[in-house]
């Protein structure tokens, strides 16, 4: 179960025929305390690069960008109820959406993602 990354500071992990998406540990650190998340409904379709959700901290707003075309399978209601999960465990229980891709996402491996952080 390999975790891959996007240049938009999101992580993507395959689970069977769906992919789980969240924001990276680096992204949550940059945002600060997350106080609100707005996630898409199951069934929503999206195009690559589309903003499908928002992650707000006290200081700023981050958008969740779709890494490829696809459809939302499930949003993480636990995170909607308790946005601090994103800070506590960004790459685990703080996942944001499960999606089914209909095009191939462009993803980075962990080393390539780390390299983008400088």
């Amino acid at each position: 179960m390999t975790t891959q990354y996007t240049a938009d500071h999101e992580w993507v992990r395959a689970e069977g025929d769906v992919h789980v998406i969240g924001i990276t540990e680096h992204a949550q650190q940059q945002l600060g305390d997350v106080v609100y998340v707005d996630l898409p409904e199951a069934g929503r379709t999206f195009a690559a690069g589309e903003a499908i959700g928002e992650i707000e901290s006290t200081k700023s707003v981050g958008e969740l960008f779709a890494p490829a075309d696809g459809e939302v399978v499930e949003a993480n209601d636990s995170v909607s109820d308790d946005p601090t999960l994103v800070n506590q465990d960004a790459e685990g229980t703080g996942w944001l959406v499960k999606v089914r891709f209909t095009s191939e996402p462009e993803l980075l491996d962990a080393a390539a993602y780390q390299a983008t952080l400088g």
Binding site: Q29, G32, D33, Y36, E56, T58, K59, V61, N87
Partner: protein
């Protein structure tokens, strides 16, 4: 680009795990861990801030008071020894070049504290306006650290570091006294930018780490935590305090942004900006208001305020209030709206209600 400036406490911030950010030309701590926890600590116990980016200008001379009355909006010559006042540096147009705290330190000596980002503007304006007065202005920023302790436990903490000073119980709000810490001169002011009781300590750079360490040592058992600029911003927003570049600018007259009372029109003669302030803003000029909303989606600086389909203003600062739990914002809004305002939050209209500032007011000590 000018070189980035560094506070004498940067090594302490790094050791404490701070996330540093560029602010006003300085590398400053944005947060050490959770900015919500830092914010809550200041409301409930105490927070420790490095504000060494702030600019300190020492004004001395037989005509220093008259000079400040001419150069600034307030009547600073009337300050008692040890008294502080919030005031403004106005352009001839009446627009705001900076907001300042001015302390009277002696019969012929004042301390002017300016925002880091406006330091050059303030230094230049004061150098220009001092012409003809028997007074000097010295920029001491590069030699001066500023450490703030803010929150209900702050007096107990500052008292516990072993200052040689008059009792802090006798130091009123917006007052300053001279003290000695481990042989070094320290100015202790009961001022701040958080809406809580608190102290601001002006200390020579070379003594900053020792003072910081002493405050951490005695303060930690009393609940003191390191606090960064993120918490400082949400604290001052809840307290309804304006921030230069957000609420205040060269485009706004004092009366538009709730600081008209800082202009001493009645008690002194001519000063820079007087004619424009007397003429007043246009009748349809926007005014600063407080806005609150339900839910958790906050309007942020730059977002439009709308009345139906008409854009009637802009948010100058906004956040989900950590203390109150709902969105708050300050906004410049043109008068005469219908009363059903909303903020356009990235395409979604969030209904807002106009309220009096501040959003948060601390309980006065019994």
């Amino acid at each position: 680009m000018p070189e980035i400036l560094h506070t004498p406490l940067e090594a302490r911030h790094a050791a404490a795990g701070a996330q540093l950010t560029e602010f006003g030309g300085w590398m400053m701590p944005l947060r050490y861990g959770s900015d919500l926890a830092e914010h809550a600590a200041v409301r409930e116990r105490a927070g420790l801030f490095d504000l060494s980016h702030m600019a300190e200008l020492r004004v001395r001379g037989a005509e220093a008071g008259a000079f400040l009355d001419h150069a600034l909006a307030g009547r600073l010559s009337a300050l008692e020894l040890g008294q502080a006042r919030y005031t403004l540096l106005l352009a001839a147009s009446g627009g705001i070049l900076d907001d300042l705290i001015v302390y009277r330190l002696g019969t012929t000596e004042w301390l002017v504290v300016a925002n880091a980002g406006n330091r050059a503007v303030v230094v230049e304006a004061l150098a220009d306006r001092v012409t003809g007065f028997d007074a000097t202005v010295v920029d001491e920023t590069d030699d001066t650290a500023l450490i703030a302790v803010q929150g209900p436990a702050s007096q107990a903490i500052v008292e516990a570091i072993g200052l040689e000073s008059e009792p802090l119980d006798d130091l009123g709000y917006y007052r300053i006294l001279e003290a000695i810490f481990e042989g070094e001169d320290v100015l202790v002011a009961r001022t701040g930018y958080t809406g809580e009781d608190g102290f601001e300590l002006y200390v020579p750079n070379h003594a900053a780490e020792d003072l910081w360490d002493a405050l951490v040592r005695v303060g930690t058992p009393l609940g003191l935590v390191h606090a960064g600029l993120a918490a400082r911003d949400t604290l001052r927003l809840e307290a309804g305090m304006p921030l230069y570049g957000h609420e205040l600018s060269t485009e706004t007259l004092p009366a538009q942004v709730g600081v008209g009372r800082s202009v001493a029109l009645k008690t002194k003669g001519d000063f820079v900006g007087r004619a424009a302030v007397e003429a007043g803003p246009a009748a349809d000029a926007p005014v600063l208001v407080g806005l609150v909303a339900e839910g958790r989606r906050a309007g942020r600086a730059g977002y439009a305020v709308v009345d139906g389909d008409a854009e009637v203003g802009v948010v100058t600062s906004g956040a989900l209030s950590p203390t109150l739990g709902h969105p708050i914002a300050m906004a410049l809004v043109t008068p005469g709206h219908s009363g059903s305002l909303a903020i356009d939050v990235r395409g979604t209209r969030i209904p807002v209600t106009i309220v009096d500032l501040p959003f948060y007011r601390r309980q006065e000590r019994a």
